[in-house]
Symmetry: C2
Subunit: 142 residues, 2 copies
Amino acid sequence: MNAYQKFKMTPQRIAIMNCLGQRNLHPTADEVFQAVRKMLPRISLGTVYRNLEFLTGNGLIKKNEQGGGQRRYEGNLEKHYHIKCTSCGRLEDAPIEPFESLENSLEGLCDYKIFECQVEFEGLCPDCQAKHSSRTNSQAEA
Amino acid sequence: MNAYQKFKMTPQRIAIMNCLGQRNLHPTADEVFQAVRKMLPRISLGTVYRNLEFLTGNGLIKKNEQGGGQRRYEGNLEKHYHIKCTSCGRLEDAPIEPFESLENSLEGLCDYKIFECQVEFEGLCPDCQAKHSSRTNSQAEA
DNA sequence: CCTCTTAATGGTAACAATTATCATTTATAA
DNA sequence: TTATAAATGATAATTGTTACCATTAAGAGG
Ligand SMILES: [Mn+2]
Ligand SMILES: [Mn+2]
Ligand SMILES: [Zn+2]
Ligand SMILES: [Zn+2]
């Protein structure tokens, strides 16, 4: 019995899972809503929020709460780090393995019971670097 | 000339800075508002937001956008990691030094221009551990 | 001291993301 | 079937944040 079948998977939940199935995709609730309503035109945004929460709570997807803006969700359950573009908000998986030593580094150093360690690199994506340098150039020209 | 004096520091801005002066304190905008209005009863929440943004933009304080909930601010400008209690939301500084190797680990591995690396440990604070175990106990008793 | 100019403020309305509510629909099981 | 419970869609409410704008405060000459 696969983990999937332990839960009541309604058509709405399946559609949401499918939308998150691909790797390195981190849509917001509204982006999931827009994608899913192509298959289920009558689905409501509330149902999307409710089920993103349900699926997260049951460990079928992951919620990404970092970043001031909207919450993001993903289907990639493997431990990994993220890179965020501070200019356009783009979020993607970082192409490195998690640091074993980092995860355990607080052992015995504080009274918290640590479960997880979120790592998010911040920088400029290639597109935004291009935009930024072209803007600098045109300013120099003017 | 101290960095402070390069900017017009209104009484409101000074009060906000004072509120953030202590280490290991990460109040939300509203918590800053509540604290500051004890000194300046006529200050408005909009002014607090506006100036938290101003002070962040000028590097006098730091904004903490991680965590789904409210934004948090702090006066501690040194690079450091955080621990967040997933139960009560408490946020504090992690008692370890940043990992040099982590910060540079993406060098040459992606096309982003990386500036920063945010690290946030997640777990249960001592208080919430106590609450949680006492609840478990009373369930066992019942 | 007066103006003039500009920046900052307080108060409030608008906004966007998320959550709550509730009547209706759907699934499950006696 | 009928009964029961869970999930949904539609929409209202809430929350954190931003935008707006008339008023106030601060400087810079004169
Ligand atoms: Mn990811
Ligand atoms: Mn801190
Ligand atoms: Zn970008
Ligand atoms: Zn706690």
